[in-house]
Symmetry: C2
Subunit: 507 residues, 2 copies
């Protein structure tokens, strides 16, 4: 037996073994976010031969070769796990270790070309034993989550041998909506930056990219029907826009990672950049009886405003396949007509909490997004009020990652409990998840990645893992280890505290 | 005349024209840090032909071709100004613009192979007029500062033509010691990261790299005489150390940019990492009468401690050519014997303020480094006390850049006035400058650069420019412009606020 210098951290964790009572055991595994049920037997270890190892569709699987989502994921995860070599082959009789050359993947229901949805099932089981190496899931989306977990279980010995412990995992997300908001209006983010962020989201099992694509400062979305919007409203129409091809690239790249793209075109406030391309859209401000040259929100008294909005949101509804649109509505009184327009396109909508706070009439299936910390009421109270009124709710108030402070602020982020409000079980069931938000006032492509990772990982685990996984001391070693793994994957994730990684980040 | 879309920002600034009364004028120039005296005539503009333009030694210059510092700087600044092309030649008669093909450089005193020192003169004059294009300085170090200023004056028209306005500058630093501290112990910083930081320091006219090279967590300095120090005290002796060649590389790279390397080997506290390689060096802690396994500071009761320290600091004194060593001394009672050792090697020393606070007997030429904000007294009071006692002083308390907060915190950094304490003119003259500090608890190569730049620039301007240059509103546009220039030069500097740069940062 060769020495195995495990890179995984030694953790003492309370485990809920499947079908048994809770038990405490010393565990050699480091997975982020932590699975719902995991049992590891470090006494039984398997070696992987990197030149032979592969993922394969189980004969019983409802999806088979040709399934875009998994075909590409198999290639991606082989690269993530093994890199480019050269590798040490473990096929030496003297090692006396069982070598595994494949993981069987069994998906129960067909569907490879669809988009993930709010209610898509993401549960999976991963069994790594002498008898079987198998990943089972209902959907391809669950298989993606299982592949990510599998990739995090692989260790590498000092001699360069890849190995994995005997492991049994039954996993599923606590909340169906686990989002990350990026703001591409205050600063433009290049396409490549967005795609790299989608990769890291998948590593964290985030499943919603909330694209706050336009706002007051700039309008980078290149509209098919209203090209003047970005021609006049972007920072630079030659370099600082998202073409239709860019948008399609983002949507497909996200889909292949099981991530929904939730587009937000915030109205009727936060629309200064819209006014440049659509004369007359905004309400002119007056100084006495003379126009002052500045503008307020979208002008609600003109018929052509309605016509423009109807046409524009028709386009948006077509371009973005997700059932939901985020309609914004923050920081100004909102009106209900836009909600009606969007409903007519068979879309659901998410709105910022002001829309609820201002008593706008909402359809019962509206999702309300809570972002304010203390006003008009503390966010837990807001969650209570919204769910009491019967609406579904998303939480972001404590997860504004653009707000930075000195020290290990991930701990505060991690310690949030979304259901920590007074409410019935039915009310709790209306909390569909939350989002980490990275607003762009002080963030662009130069500092996005280190500011985002691994801090956003604290939100990811809160939304995926069991409510009981909430000890920051236990989480520290695992998150520090995950951050090192991110570096190994080429992600410029910042350190939690003093120390080093085996694979430090080099440009 | 072709249109000149100036990228410089339009600034209304109070200028002290050389030999005239103060005057207010609209100025088209963006230089960071702002020169002591600058007069720009935007009505007269010269074009530069990038394929012909060059720097040349004036016939009257005391240094001539073969001068390493300037030979290399000439190459460097041509690359910085013009990039790699292709360029638009301005040699078209219809442009009716005067083309300049060279800048004469005239250095008054010889000396190209020396190291910059605390008292090296850095003053220069830059005259860009129809009659002459000339940069004059006493020393090569002043010429480096002038070349940097020249590079920041160059604009580029929309058509791609390089130009500069008629300009007259007389410039010199307000303080001789303008430092930046990097901490390579709490996290290791790769050599390349240090070299890149030295580049950006030169852009900001910083002239001291304070290398806090070792500390409790790790000992990355590879000692010639005591190789066990890094072999056992570094994070990884294969990858996380600075070899003698690395150290020499840093020193020479810094020298070529007019930057001193001030090495700090903090003693007798902050030495946990030393103890691994030198058994018996540290004071063992006891639990009752039994050693507890943990250690305190350097053990002062053993003769071999003195022998080791004398030998080790002899090496350090030889390896680092600067007259000064930083001996640390923070956070524990200090003893005077180390000061005597270092003095015997004909070195000056800088110590943290505790050494003064603890009434250690100091030689009159000691430099005291103020870092605490409020204890034992507010830092302005500490400055007063230290200068009253006749010691020279460096300020860092308000410039701990590792401490981050939300928003434009560069403004607070910028608003500090080092001489804002009660003291005589003689006491004020003992303030030799200050340092921006980037401690490494939460900083490594993944987030160093965006966290450092352009925030450290606020310190750079405070220490170089006139006391009267202190308006954050006026500074904003110029610093934002400088940050865009840093992006153009490939530096991952973070944004000040909402907006964009013509040359956004792409990996």
């Amino acid at each position: 037996m060769i020495s195995l210098e495990h890179t995984g951290v030694l953790l003492l964790l309370t485990l809920l073994a499947v079908g048994t009572l809770a038990q405490t055991q010393v565990l050699e595994a480091s997975v982020w976010p932590w699975p719902q049920n995991i049992r590891v037997s470090p006494n039984q270890t398997f070696a992987l031969n990197p030149s032979l190892f592969h993922f394969q569709y189980s004969a019983a699987s409802a999806v088979q070769p040709g399934c875009s989502v998994l075909d590409e994921a198999f290639v991606r995860y082989l690269r993530i796990i093994f890199g480019t070599g050269p590798w040490l082959s473990p096929d030496r009789p003297d090692l006396k270790i069982t070598v595994k050359n494949s993981l069987d993947v069994l998906v129960a229901v067909p569907g490879c070309d669809l988009f993930p949805e709010m209610n898509s099932l993401e549960n999976y089981t991963l069994t790594l034993s002498n008898q079987q190496f198998v990943l089972k899931s209902h959907t391809v989306w669950g298989a993606l989550r299982g592949l990510e977990t599998f990739s995090q279980l692989i260790g590498r010995s000092a001699e360069g041998m890849f190995y994995v412990n005997c492991t049994d995992i039954v996993d599923f997300p606590r909340f169906p909506h686990r989002g990350l908001l990026l703001d591409t209006s205050r600063h433009y983010l290049p396409l490549q930056t967005i795609l790299e962020t989608l990769d890291v989201m998948a590593y964290n099992k985030f499943n919603v990219f909330h694209w706050h694509i336009v706002d007051d400062p700039s309008f980078p979305y290149e509209s098919v029907n209203f090209p003047e919007l970005s021609r006049k409203g972007s920072y630079d129409p030659a370099s600082h826009i998202y073409t239709m091809e860019d948008v399609k690239t983002v949507i497909e790249y996200a889909r292949l990672r099981g991530i929904r793209v939730l587009a937000e075109f915030d109205t009727p406030g936060h629309t200064l950049s819209w006014g440049k391309g659509i004369p007359g859209l905004l309400t002119p401000c007056y100084s006495g009886s003379v126009p002052s040259g500045s503008y307020g929100p979208v002008n609600p008294i003109l018929n052509r405003t309605y016509e423009f909005m109807a046409s524009f949101f028709q386009e948006i509804s077509d371009v973005f396949p997700d059932f939901y649109l985020h309609l914004g509505g923050d920081e100004v009184d909102f009106t209900c007509w836009l909600l009606n327009i969007v409903s007519s396109y068979r879309k659901g909508y998410i709105v910022w909490q002001e829309v609820f706070d201002n008593d706008v009439k909402l359809s019962p299936d509206t999702v309300v997004h809570v972002w304010r910390e203390t006003k008009p009421v503390p966010y837990a109270m807001e969650m209570k009020n919204i769910t009491k009124a019967g609406y579904r709710v998303l939480l972001s108030s404590p997860w504004y990652l653009n707000r930075i402070s000195y020290g290990q602020d991930w701990q505060k982020i991690y310690s949030v409990e979304p259901l920590d409000f007074e409410g019935s079980p039915e009310q709790e069931s209306l909390v569909i998840g939350g989002e980490a938000c990275m607003w762009g006032e002080f963030v662009d492509m130069t500092n996005l990645t280190p500011r985002l990772w691994p801090r956003a990982g604290a939100v990811a685990e809160r939304l995926w893992s069991s409510k009981s996984v909430n000890d920051t001391k236990l989480a520290y070693a695992r998150l520090a280890n995950f951050r090192c793994e991110l570096l190994r994957r080429g992600v410029q994730a910042q350190p939690l505290f003093v120390g080093f990684c085996e694979h430090d980040f080099y440009h």
